[in-house]
Amino acid sequence: MSGPLWSWVFVGLTFALYIGIAIWSRAGSTRDFYVAGHDVPPVLNGMATAADWMSAASFLSMAGLTAFLGYGGSVYLMGWTGGYVLLALLLAPYLREFGKFTVPDFVGDRYDSRTARIIAVICALFVSFTYIAGQMKGVGVAFSAFLDVPQNWGIAIGMAIVLVYAVLGGMKGITYTQVAQYVVLIFAYTVPAIFISLAITGQLVPQIGFTSESVLPRLDRLLVDLGFTEYTQTTKAKIDVFCITAALMFGTAGLPHVIIRFFTVENAQAARRSAGWALAFIAVLYTTAPAVGAFARINFIDQVNETAIDELPEWFETWESTGYIDLDDKNGDGVVQYRAGEGNEVVPNRDIFVLANPQIAGLPGWVVGLVVAGGMAAALSTAAGLLMVISSAVSHDLMRMTFRPDMTDREELRWARISAAGAVVAAGLLGIFADNLGFVAQVVAFAFGLAAASLFPVIVLGIFWGRFNKQGAIAAMVTGLVTTFAYIVWFKFVDPDPAGWWFGISPEGIGFAFMWLALVVGIVTAIATPAPPDHIRQLVENIRIPGGN
């Protein structure tokens, strides 16, 4: 069987599985719909969280990023895993103990303020929409690259699938499909990685192959000879590496679609455990990715550099014809020169390293099909988690808690379904109208920066500082939101010149700096204004002690 046929088989089978799970796990109440009935076992929630977290970008781009950035790719590896330590230690058990449905719920109740709740809704919606557009786009790209389906039709198919299981099952349906999606995506990621590790280093485990003498020392030499920076070094300033890593970590801990996963387990202890499981499941992919990246860069140099154009391997032509590799024989010698600077004749898109790896390593057609299904699983699971945040922010925080407090549970459930459906359509349209993934990657900096600077400080202070009040929370959220938003818009879209960056901090890392500003502004405002009332102090004490109500 050929590659595309296998892709159809795997994609068809996995999609049927997701729909089957959705029908089996329909939601009967708002409690089912928002938090899967509070009874998901920690291990399963860990898997669901891992799938929720690892997006199309993790699956497709992580290895390619480290392949090209070398040490510079570490910011993503540490940033997107280290946040889970913060989640487990500072947020997850306490928010679970609080026991409500959404992140704005916590902000609204803890600060006893409708204004604070609405600002938190705005932060949650903004963060989730910037993120979801990329997922839908990722589904479209996978469909068009492998299944010969036009990109927008691919997005429409992806929307239809998510629509079925998110609207039918809410968080309950999403949780169990995410568990299945984790299994699919991790299998699809590690199988090719093992084969490539065997081919290059003779080691079965990619993480061990990564430390082999034949990988990094050789790659350093190869790259220096070609005029690149050594693989194990970076040209980025240390302060920027520090700030980007920190912004991604604190941003991870402040992302609503990750936080709400911890509302689905039984109690605070289960929330801690499931954070541990989640990170362990994530670490499987995140420690494999840099190994795959290094192997892929070696393979690429070996097979392409100084090769005559008519002798290039088959995979090269396939990916060149789809526009993922750009070849230009500048000096007309009929041979490809790959190097840094002027003389370079080949520019590969970094995403191909995961997509083309099975072909580069000469693996059979079914592995390609597996990788396609894995990429879709990564994109759909993340999209579904984000949809939950959007729909619950609208149906619960805006409709039930703000505008129509007299609503019944049944009515709220109907609103939750309607807003989930609306959010799917909106996300699909964003995916269709976003020109390319590059733009999407740019705006993802928003999601992390804003989550770090606006949501993280008010949640942590709300738990650990009983004296922190409404005025402080509003001041902190507004400060973080406005400053981070302005900095990113200015240096990403208005004047993208790194020379102007404050203290050499890029827009990706600025959320960390403004998080501290938000903390200081919030604390000063809180000290200058009255202490919160007694029932709030009591609420804070209750969430600190498990079962202590």
Partner: protein
């Protein structure tokens, strides 16, 4: 809060701060700030600082959460904190 609960909360905070110091040391410390110094040593073909940034810190993160879960369970037993969550 009862005295017992206060003591539990104090112990929880102490544990949290201690683990966060390790979290900071392995990622920002070993992987970023003092990377060059650690790179003088190698694990197989990988310089240590580089390896900490791309592999080691992630393993330590997982271990930290495992330690946290175990220690918290022990604290809750020691202070007689109810294991069951609030009924919603």
């Amino acid at each position: 809060m009862t005295d017992n609960q206060r003591a539990y909360w104090r112990a929880t905070r102490r544990l949290t701060v201690g683990l966060l110091l390790v979290w900071f040391a392995v990622s920002f410390g070993a992987g970023i700030l003092f990377r060059e110094a650690l790179d003088a040593v190698s694990i197989g073909g990988a310089p240590l600082g580089f390896w900490m940034a791309q592999q080691g810190s992630i393993y330590v993160f997982v271990i930290l959460i495992v330690i946290y879960c175990t220690a918290m369970t022990r604290l809750e037993r020691k202070f007689g904190i109810d294991q069951k969550g609030p009924e919603q």
